[in-house]
């Protein structure tokens, strides 16, 4: 305890004397981002009688745009799962869910969130209770079970947007099925909100969603520059906005300013790392409770994680989008996200990133919590070796449950991997 206190005091003292070199590399938009997200959660936590807005819990891959049209506040338990992980509350909450009878092998986002709903704990004192649950299974089958649990607990309507998995194809039958469900989704929203769906406003929200996605892609693409003005660890942080506020002017404005900052950094030659020897791609959900540690670890080797498969997931299906018929192309856009496709398509996606961002290696997070993301990674590793011949690293961990992380083992593997890059 005492040692911790002392360390803290030293840290504060060090922070007071700011290192100008370090200051220069810091992304200045971070502050604005924190303020926007705080305001977003503040509104969500304000009693409904005051805001007059309903709350929907929605999965990270779910169509949020119709919610914005209806003035419903979208809340993302997965985003919250990340907050739980980052604030190192994962283990405690996961243990609580295990006492409730949930197996420790289940998804740690789900475990933490299920436990959190029952105890008024967790970061920001828990999430505001939902008026409806919107579950899109384009990311996994786990969300279906998780949202069923929450539907029983909160006793509110559960809408499932069932997006058939596209192992090798997206066929017209699938399109018809998902399109029919988009209509059912809108009908349900009209019923819950007690007002008709505003199709003109949908066009506007759709336009903003597309704009936001384009900006986000542009931001991610700035790392094609050497040195990269940011890393995937920064993308993990700035991602929250495209997930939660996609389809709003707030997200568009914010990303415009963030993009400008990145462009300025490029113009001034400011990279996130003092020296960028190696460029890498990250695969899978971040290890939230070890972000800083991992970031420092790679930085110490002058290895810069310039891109990742995770944050690009929120702008990867723009090619299926018809800007003039946003609602009509929603079905295809949401069904064909990379996690809802075959392992070989996911491998192609990474290989394209390797080429686009000119990277020297790929880091895989084999995530116990996420089977659709992780099973198949061994095949992807082999395909990368065959097709582009660069080294890969497999880190065994879990996104929120720290009990599945062995620091010494991961450290050894990273060191060995860097040796291979030399």
């Amino acid at each position: 305890m005492q040692t911790d206190d002392r360390r803290e005091k030293t840290m504060t003292a060090m922070e007071k004397i700011k290192d100008p070199e370090k200051e220069k590399r810091k992304i200045k938009s971070d502050k604005k981002m924190r303020a926007i997200m705080a305001a977003y959660y503040m509104e969500a936590k304000t009693p409904k009688e005051i805001t007059g807005k309903k709350i929907a819990w929605i999965t990270s891959g779910g169509p949020v745009e119709p919610l914005h049209v209806m003035d419903v506040i979208p809340i993302y338990p997965e985003n919250y799962g990340a907050m739980i992980g980052a604030s190192k509350m994962g283990v405690e909450l996961c243990e609580k869910s295990e006492q409730m009878g949930y197996s420790s092998d289940l998804c740690s986002y789900a475990r933490a969130d299920i436990a959190c709903a029952t105890v008024n704990g967790g970061p920001i004192g828990g999430l505001p209770a939902p008026d409806m649950l919107i579950c899109c299974n384009n990311i996994c089958g786990t969300v279906l079970k998780w949202y069923e649990v929450q539907a029983r607990y909160f006793n509110v309507p559960l809408f499932i947007l069932d997006t058939p998995i596209c192992h090798t194809e997206f066929n017209p039958d699938m399109k018809r099925y998902v399109t029919a469900q988009i209509k059912e989704y809108i009908t349900l929203l009209e019923k819950i909100c007690g007002k008709p769906f505003d199709y003109d406003r949908m066009k506007e929200v759709g336009r903003l969603s597309v704009q936001g996605q384009k900006l986000w892609q542009e931001i991610l693409d700035t790392t094609m520059n050497r040195p990269a003005p940011m890393t995937c660890f920064d993308a993990f942080f700035h991602l929250a906005m495209i997930v939660t506020l996609r389809g709003t002017q707030i997200a568009v404005d914010y990303y415009e300013s963030l993009l400008q900052e990145m462009k300025d950094r490029i113009a001034q030659g400011i990279g996130m790392l003092p020296e960028e020897k190696y460029r890498l791609v990250w695969d899978n959900i971040p290890v939230w409770y070890k972000l800083r540690w991992l970031s420092d670890k790679f930085a110490a080797h002058s290895a810069c994680l310039v891109a990742d498969t995770y944050t690009s997931g929120w702008c990867g299906t723009m090619k299926y989008l018809d800007e003039n018929d946003f609602l009509g192309s929603l079905a295809e856009m949401y069904t064909r996200i990379f996690l809802n496709t075959g392992t070989d398509i996911m491998a192609d996606n990474i290989i394209k990133m390797v080429e686009k961002y000119e990277v020297d290696g790929v880091v895989f997070h084999s995530n116990r919590s996420c089977k659709p993301y992780s099973l198949g990674q061994y095949d992807i590793q082999r395909l990368i070796k065959e097709k582009v011949g660069i080294p890969t690293l497999m880190i065994e961990a879990d996104m929120t449950d720290e009990r599945s992380f062995s620091e010494s083992q991961v450290e050894t593997r990273i060191d060995a991997f860097i040796e291979m890059l030399r």
């Binding site: 949930y102 092998d105 089958g141 786990t142 029983r152 069932d162 192992h167 084999s366 990674q377 061994y378």
Partner: protein, 372 residues
């Protein structure tokens, strides 16, 4: 029991049976993973539907393709495929159920070479009209995929015959369950399990004949067991461990019903034999009690389990899941709670196919029986 030795032989080595069947009939064998596979379409194509369960061998090759946190079914089946134990297959069918099977389909497609590969992307929610419409297109597409994969034509007459046979098999298996429920002494659960396991890989025409004989013989037989075992309902995914039944029976229990896909879910729900058969097949898979990877209301499985316990005058429930089976593990707490509210005791056994922890299971099982 009549024919039991033959059923045992098939259940203990399904691959050997399929190879023999192939030699004899020159027919094709279609492997599949799940009780959502419309077997009648495979039978209609004159092929043998073969439910893949994994032979339970030690994992050596599958570890290079699948992480250790995938279930023993997925790892075991891939191990069999990679080591050539399934080289009699002319095609494999993957109905979309859980995340692990979803990825197994990809890994299988990319790394094995057993004839055709069919993904059967059924709806996940089974309680809406649009889902039923979609299910119908999936059944129709599957028929076309099978025709293309096997180079054959499935006529309506062939399908009608296959539906009749599969209904017959389902009726007879249901009859066996009814016999066991009325007089658990007449048929050992391990034997019934053996029959079901063999049923999922056998020539369905022959199976219908043999099951008919078994049922008739059992109906005529008297139940002269005096003991009054504890009546149990089993709930979970597939169970391919015959040991479990012996353990339950020797600890003073008798299984009277189950909610397994390698059990009652395999035969529950008949297909209407008249009218549009594709539509009727779709309806069966829409209306049968769901596997936890599918959705039909938020209390359907718990309600069904309570109902089965009451209907069968059971004293308790044993949940049996494969370790790493997410859908079942998510449902367990609420189902246990629903049972609790009705005063029905339950216990959970988490198992792995390749590892036998018989001793520990026995101790827990005995303790549970005593509590009942």
């Amino acid at each position: 029991m009549k024919h039991i030795d033959m059923f045992k032989k098939i259940a203990s080595n399904p691959a050997e049976y399929a190879q023999g069947w192939k030699k004899q009939t020159h027919g094709r064998v279609v492997g599949h993973f799940c009780s959502y596979t419309p077997e009648e379409l495979i039978t209609a194509a004159d092929a043998l539907p073969f439910r893949i369960l994994g032979s339970g061998t030690t994992i050596s090759k599958a570890g290079e393709f699948l992480q250790a946190y995938s279930c023993s079914l997925v790892r075991g089946a891939l191990e069999d495929a990679l080591t050539g134990r399934l080289d009699f297959l002319d095609g494999t069918v993957f109905p979309h159920t859980c995340d692990s099977i979803q990825r197994l389909s990809d890994i299988w497609r990319m790394n094995t070479n057993y004839g055709f590969h069919a993904d059967l992307i059924m709806p996940v929610k089974l309680d809406t009209e649009s889902a039923e419409q979609y299910m119908l297109t999936v059944i129709h597409k599957f028929r076309k995929d099978l025709e293309a994969g096997l180079g054959t034509k499935i006529t309506d007459a062939m399908l009608e015959k296959a539906v009749r046979t599969s209904n017959q098999v389902r009726n007879l298996l249901a009859a066996l369950y009814e016999i066991r429920k009325a007089s658990p002494g007449k048929i050992k659960s391990s034997d019934l399990h053996t029959i079901i396991k063999a049923s999922m890989v056998m020539d369905r025409g022959l199976l219908a004949d043999l099951l008919g004989e078994v049922v008739t013989a059992l109906e005529e037989q008297r139940d002269d067991t005096a003991s009054k075992p504890k009546r149990l309902v089993l709930s979970g995914g597939l169970c391919s461990m015959p040991d479990i039944y012996d353990i339950i029976e020797s600890s003073g229990g008798a299984v009277v019903w189950d909610d397994f896909c390698t059990g009652a879910r395999y035969f529950e729900g008949r297909i209407d034999e008249t009218g549009d058969l594709e539509k009727n097949i779709a309806r069966r898979y829409m209306s049968r009690i769901v596997c936890p990877a599918k959705h039909s209301g938020i209390f359907s499985r718990g309600g069904h389990l309570v109902e089965k316990v009451k209907e069968n005058n059971a004293d308790g429930v044993i949940f049996i899941f494969l370790k790493f089976c997410d859908p079942h593990a998510f449902d367990y707490p609420y189902m246990k709670e629903m049972l609790q509210k009705e005063g029905i005791p339950s216990i959970l056994f988490e198992i792995e196919e390749q590892t036998s922890s018989g001793g520990q299971l026995r101790t827990r099982c005995e303790a549970f029986m005593e509590m009942l």
